[in-house]
Point group: C2
Chain length 196, copies 2
């Protein structure tokens, strides 16, 4: 089977991801995606058959990507503090590049139903939660239900980037200044999560 493979399929998918995950344009039409990718809209149907299937493909990959990142970070063979620091690094970098990936996922789930995520792997998270509990016993992090610890961590990582358009106005900072603020977040978050 010959495959010309000019990379158009990947290119379309990546362009769509950029619009959804990076630019936060959750209402993007097939025409807008095709235009942004610099291809005829038919190409989009040639590779994905329908808009819904393109969305489904993107959803699955985003879910897969999230699962894998969680997996790798949570089950890494590292001391708890290092592991958490790595989670911050990895997720913060990801949020800077794709701030609306989770928003996209949640929006799709809300419109199509939560059965879309029955394949999510919760074991790696569970093991991290156990480690957090142990750590609380040692006293290096304040005692609370481990899920709260994890929600706190992800909240501090993610929310400011999702709210960027509003925060920029509210704090009167420009794009560059906001970016600098985000670079400072790692230190801030570590300070919040661990007793210094």
């Amino acid at each position: 089977m010959p495959l010309k493979n000019t990379g158009t399929e990947q290119h379309i998918k990546e362009t769509a991801k950029r619009m959804f995950f990076t630019e936060g344009k959750l209402h993007a039409t097939t025409q807008e995606i095709a235009d942004a990718a610099g291809v005829n809209r038919t190409a989009l149907h040639y590779y994905f058959r329908s808009r819904d299937l393109l969305i489904a493909a993107i959803f699955q990959e985003a879910m897969q990507d999230l699962s894998q990142r969680l997996n790798e970070c949570m089950t890494a063979d590292q001391p708890f503090r290092d592991k958490t620091e790595n989670i911050i690094d990895v997720f913060l970098r990801h949020m800077i590049a794709f701030p609306y990936q989770e928003t996209f996922l949640v929006t799709e789930i809300n419109t199509l139903g939560s059965r879309l995520i029955n394949n999510i792997q919760s074991d790696p998270v569970k093991s991290y939660l156990l480690e957090a509990e142990t750590e609380m016993g040692k006293g290096s992090i304040p005692p609370m239900k481990p899920v709260h610890f994890l929600m706190n961590l992800f909240s501090l990582l993610s929310y400011p980037l999702i709210m960027a358009p509003i925060y920029k106005k509210l704090f009167k900072v420009n794009g560059k200044e906001f970016k600098e603020l985000m670079e400072e977040r790692k230190g801030v978050i570590m300070g919040m999560m661990f007793k210094e």
Copy 2:
């Protein structure tokens, strides 16, 4: 000029808000909104003229509501700790009822442009940030740029509720259990924000 005012206009707007802000159905069509409101779709055009104007009205009110909440909370005449506790109460309650209001705002800004929010009031926030700075001097909260303190606060408040559909699966909790977790957040957040 007689105004029959059967409440239909308000009812349509509230239904639309419920779909957008509470259910997170950001792609809702006029037909879906009309159906949910139990009115003919024409009523929607009669009162709002077009879909875009309905969206614009909802956007403005949501923005207004956010501004006002910020204003009232941030400039209340209270000691800093009490004030912060009140912010948590008010915003947590709001997030439980309308978890996707901010998401809606940001999505609209991303599609229509950030000039939509040039009327946002940043003075009340500024005064709260100054108070936070004073408080850091006193040592009751850890030293950091005040904006980080505020972003931390809002993150801890908001993000878990936005991610609810994913977190329920990831933590294997049902709706009731998740709701209970959210009720616990106030204490958790206070513990995170203030040195105990």
